[in-house]
């Protein structure tokens, strides 16, 4: 009896508490999780509107309805008629995946606009890259060199590096996958 009380009981209680906590968490996860893959959320629509002035875009999917991913690009959002598209990109800035942007490309493969969906960088420092005037400097860039020639923001070197990497990814993805994106 003493053995049971001293050795078995504690382990049993601990196991019980662990499994209870985990069960409750699984339940809470099922309740709160929303699968947004392949859905045009309000944030994405607002981003499209900001870059092109319309939200008449669709997420590029294959025949089975799965979102087509390119290297470094989470989703491509396309308007096949106007030949415009936007790339949703996560890039590391100072913090992991701190830069979550939409990069819009016009019909000639040049950057038409960049807009942040969320910016998880250090407030006051890294968040300086989330500035309309700064992001406007990238408009018209259509190759890596052009993106690279834009200056970094003082005091936000990691975040500037991140946003430039994101735009470079967008430019390269466009030039390499143009046919696939517009189904030509």
């Amino acid at each position: 009896m003493k053995f049971f009380k001293e050795k078995i009981m504690p382990s049993l209680v601990l196991c019980l508490i662990c499994s209870l906590v985990c069960l409750l968490l699984v339940g809470a996860y099922e309740l709160t999780y929303v699968d947004n893959t392949g859905v045009m959320t309000d944030e994405l629509k607002a981003g499209c509107k900001e870059v092109f002035g319309s939200d008449d875009f669709e997420i590029l999917k294959d025949a089975e309805g799965n979102v087509i991913e390119f290297d470094g690009v989470t989703a491509a959002i396309v308007n096949k008629e106007t030949k415009q598209c936007l790339f949703e990109i996560y890039e590391n800035g100072y913090s992991k995946d701190g830069i979550h942007v939409l990069v819009g490309m016009d019909e000639n493969g040049a950057v038409a606009g960049v807009t942040f969906i969320t910016c998880g960088e250090t407030p006051g420092l890294g968040t300086k890259v989330n500035d309309k005037d700064y992001l406007a400097k990238f408009i018209g860039a259509n190759n890596e060199a052009a993106v690279d020639s834009v200056d970094k923001v003082t005091g936000a070197s990691y975040s500037s590096k991140g946003i430039k990497a994101a735009i470079t990814t967008a430019v390269n993805t466009y030039s390499e996958n143009r046919e696939a994106i517009f189904g030509e």
Binding site: P10, S11, V13, V21, T118
Partner: protein, 234 residues
């Protein structure tokens, strides 16, 4: 009855100023230094910690008779970690921007010494209501300290206040000439040092209160005081 209400009131109020966990107790330094670059983040982190603190205090004081003392530490940790994960879900859903700014420090609420310390020192010995009030008071004290420190750093370091909310205020001259060092890591240590010095002055506390294992409640929970003192003395 009135005595009981008085006691409950005391548990609630003590954490806010008199035993403020950060400025007086010198606990929970890591989040205090790390995420106080913006007042709004300070509030978010403080309230998230308060939520975990209150919930874990309630659950632990309810289970205090069930949990054998040999495994109480792992039990406490699991319960706390569970609530931390829950607040992660909530914040990811409702405040995604803040979720990514707080980043890893949201998960690290699990090992915040305030929470484990209160579980060990208070909740495992007191009634549910008192434990809940104690958690609420300590949590609000923590939130207040974070908010205060974050306000100083944000105003001097980036010239705004409450950025990220609709109450954002731009401080006219400072906004164009911010003292960036205040929102960099070095500024965190500096502001906290000065704040504690001010509190020392106001409270006329005998200064040499050191950060060491003596006032770390975790020490009592994890190892027993002897090894702590041995470590400090060595």
């Amino acid at each position: 009855m009135s005595d009981n209400t008085h006691g409950a009131m005391h548990e609630f109020v003590k954490g806010i100023i008199k035993e403020n966990p950060v400025l007086v107790g010198l606990l929970g330094m890591c989040p205090t230094l790390a995420i106080t670059t913006q007042a709004f983040n300070g509030i978010g982190m403080g309230l998230a910690t308060t939520f975990v603190l209150v919930c874990s205090n309630i659950v632990i004081s309810m289970l205090k008779k069930v949990i054998p003392s040999t495994v109480r530490l792992p039990c406490f940790i699991v319960i706390i970690a569970g609530f931390v994960t829950l607040i992660e879900f909530l914040m990811k859903g409702y405040l995604p921007e803040m979720y990514s700014e707080l980043g890893i420090f949201l998960s690290l609420i699990t090992v915040n010494c305030i929470i484990l310390g209160r579980a060990e020192a208070f909740a495992s010995k007191n009634t549910v209501i008192h434990s809940a009030l104690d958690g609420l008071g300590m949590g609000l004290g923590f939130t207040l300290a974070l908010f205060f420190m974050a306000s100083i750093r944000e105003i001097v370091g980036s010239g705004t206040w409450l950025a990220g909310t609709k109450f954002m205020i731009e401080i006219p001259w400072v906004h164009d000439n911010p003292t960036l060092i205040f929102i960099m890591p070095a500024g965190g240590f500096f502001v906290l040092g000065c704040l504690i010095a001010v509190i020392n002055k106001l409270a006329k506390r005998k200064p040499p209160k050191e950060i060491s294992c003596e006032n770390c409640p975790n020490a009592a929970a994890c190892a027993g005081k002897e090894s702590c003192e041995a470590a400090a003395a060595k």
